[in-house]
Symmetry: C2
Subunit: 412 residues, 2 copies
């Protein structure tokens, strides 16, 4: 199995060398061609998708919905690829440069990473998104999707890969893994010389498996236990709007709020309004909160570190911004947290001491997103600290190299 | 053992929170105090060093020399710390920022990484260098040095750690691992929630062990198989200067040249000059080279991927820049490679297609170094592509976070 994994990685590696020096206009044109071909060959995708759906017995309605493709969704997929093609090209950017006293000119230039392995278990459209983003940033990609969407993923990858030939780029720039054994993933994760980066996208189990088994550097998107802290001086109307948005606009996503912290000095007037604003949410309060709104369920210790991904919210009253930060640092997941305040010192303290990928002041945590940040598209949100942190767009799929120009300089 | 490792990491973590918000002037002052204390307490260091030297029986003279400390070397160590204190502060830099159409102000701010584990087996001065660099960039450090320099390392770390108290910073910002079992390192490498980054510095065995066992992201400095390619149009006087410097100025280091590639069109006039210029170097040539300079030993396949770290050089004649790049990509280690040429197209082709951390045009590979780049100091040279690539200074010991300021914005 190791041999097959290696051979597959080497095919991607070879293509990556061509991609690395392809011009931006070639990569853009290839993506536009791919988008067209996805629409032209939609029947091929739909019939593959039908096979997946037929095989998927006993799955939930929500899951079936996520798995299902139709004309509208294929159009959206193609448009997603077109959006990526319209972004600013990260490749070739001169990040910084300077001349040394001895005359050497040092330039740090942005270049593709090489070969990126994306392991995902989500909807079939991730196949198109991930391939488009990696290709746009000049990388070859190895795609390994979940078994439920196997036929759909394969069909999409095949169309994309074949379209590349029409654009004069190597078809192996997109390599689809057509083996579903878990051990095959483990073999791929050992190829640290051949694959440069692994991105797992999916549940906690998948991410843990990848982190524990990989010799390749991994960048991943962990859990999202996001907090909103309503400070003593907060504009309460603003706070209600933000709380409603952060909890209810899409409760099942990583950037939704899971715990609300309220300053004790305003708890009495704030909590009843919260209960009213979130009257369709299950509230679980600490002891203090429940003296004010007795209808809340009691929160237990486990609630503070739970990613509900549902219309449930834990609530705690804290002494002030210091205790709020302590709570967030202890129980949070370092994805995104927000403070609602009018006090410049609280805002400063909060933003400096909360060690999260994104800290919001007077805005909803729901903005933690590549699209909302204006990055155009995202391959995920890194909750790690190395390489990339926060929403990851095309720039995060590149590295840099130094190019140093001299006129015969030697080191003394 | 896991419990002890965890407790140690938690001490560092706690200190890292204080360091993360300490001002630049506090971190600078602490380093200057440390430098003074290293000099004031030099007898303490020297007596610890004596113990190491007494215990080290049967080691080579070169190794004994590297292990030995004296007044001059302690002064140099202290001055190294002072140099770090004089660098530009990476913490707090606003890397980029923009305002979104909805009014949100997004800023990407440079912040410390947190807790960094440095595992090294080199000279005792690495203890001071590594601690100074991590501290300056606002991180807590866990230091695990080699057993041969154990007493010296411990003494240096102890002085640094105690000095921090005099500066009002937590002494656990520098945590020295006083256990030498290999298993203890493995335990530390499993603490992916507590330690943010691992940097192994040493031989191939150490690096391999860390990469294979770590769940913490690792940034490392691999082998250095550096090439110089003399193109058809090269200024041969310049080429000789560069070749001499790249091979002989310090043959035992990673950025020294190990293989020389020569364009076939100029091989006949160039190779005899090489043999003359490098008359104190053992030359191992390919078949073609040996027809020109028969006194060379024959190079075998293994020579092309060998890091000699000695006055040995393999030489190969190539058809041109394309074959030179192919050779480098096949056998090189992606650290640093150089082309000597007057042809703008060759220079462009070489710099775009050689996938190394640093590509030189008409300069010696020996410049691949934090100091020579003007970074002030380096914690190593990353031959990896993620997070950092090439010489790593204080900026590479930081991450970023997004701070997003609004006036009540919510996501539609």
């Amino acid at each position: 199995m190791r041999g097959i994994a290696l051979e597959l990685a080497k095919r991607a590696r070879k293509s990556s060398k061509v991609l690395a020096v392809a011009r931006g206009e070639e990569r853009r044109a290839a993506l536009l061609k791919i988008a067209d071909m996805l629409e032209i060959k939609k029947e091929f995708i739909l019939s593959a998708n039908k096979k997946d759906l037929e095989r998927a017995v006993g799955i939930s309605d929500a899951f079936r919905d996520r798995l299902t493709l139709n004309d509208v969704r294929i159009k959206a997929m193609a448009d997603g690829v077109r959006t990526v093609a319209s972004l600013r090209d990260p490749v070739g950017e001169v990040v910084t440069g300077w001349r040394r006293p001895n005359g050497l000119l040092i330039e740090k230039v942005r270049v593709p990473i090489g070969v990126i392995l994306v392991i995902y278990e989500s909807r079939p459209n991730v196949t198109a998104d991930a391939a488009a983003l990696t290709l746009f940033s000049g990388n070859a990609v190895i795609l390994r999707g979940g078994k439920e969407a196997f036929e759909s993923n394969r069909a999409i990858a095949e169309i994309m890969s074949e379209s590349l030939l029409l654009s004069g780029l190597p078809s192996d720039s997109i390599v689809f893994v057509d083996r579903i054994e878990r051990e095959f993933v483990s073999e791929l994760l050992k190829l640290e010389g051949e694959i440069d980066m692994a991105i797992p996208r999916g549940g906690e189990g998948l991410i843990r498996m990848v982190v524990e088994n990989s010799r390749i550097p991994v960048v991943y998107h962990g859990a999202g236990i996001c907090h909103v802290f309503i400070d003593e001086t907060a504009d309460l109307d603003m706070a209600m709007k933000i709380v409603r948005n952060a909890k209810c606009s899409r409760p099942g996503v990583c950037n939704a709020m899971e715990t609300l912290l309220v300053h004790e000095a305003i708890a009495k007037k704030t909590l009843p309004r919260i209960a009213e604003t979130l009257n369709d949410v299950e509230l679980r309060g600490d002891e203090f909160s429940r003296t004010i709104v007795p209808s809340m369920k009691p929160a237990v210790e486990e609630d503070w570190s739970k990613e509900y991904l549902a219309k449930i919210l834990s609530i705690r009253v804290v002494k002030g911004v210091t205790e709020a930060v302590e709570h967030i640092e202890r129980y949070g997941s370092h994805l995104a947290d927000s403070i609602v305040t009018r006090d410049i010192n609280s805002a400063e303290y909060f933003s400096r001491n909360v060690d999260s990928s994104t800290v919001f002041i007077n805005a909803s945590t729901r903005f933690t997103d590549g699209g909302e940040f204006g990055l155009g598209a995202e391959i995920g949100i890194s909750t790690q600290k190395l390489h990339a942190r926060g929403p990851m767009g095309p720039f995060e799929l590149t590295t840099t190299k130094y190019i140093v120009r001299g006129e015969g300089q030697i080191r003394e």
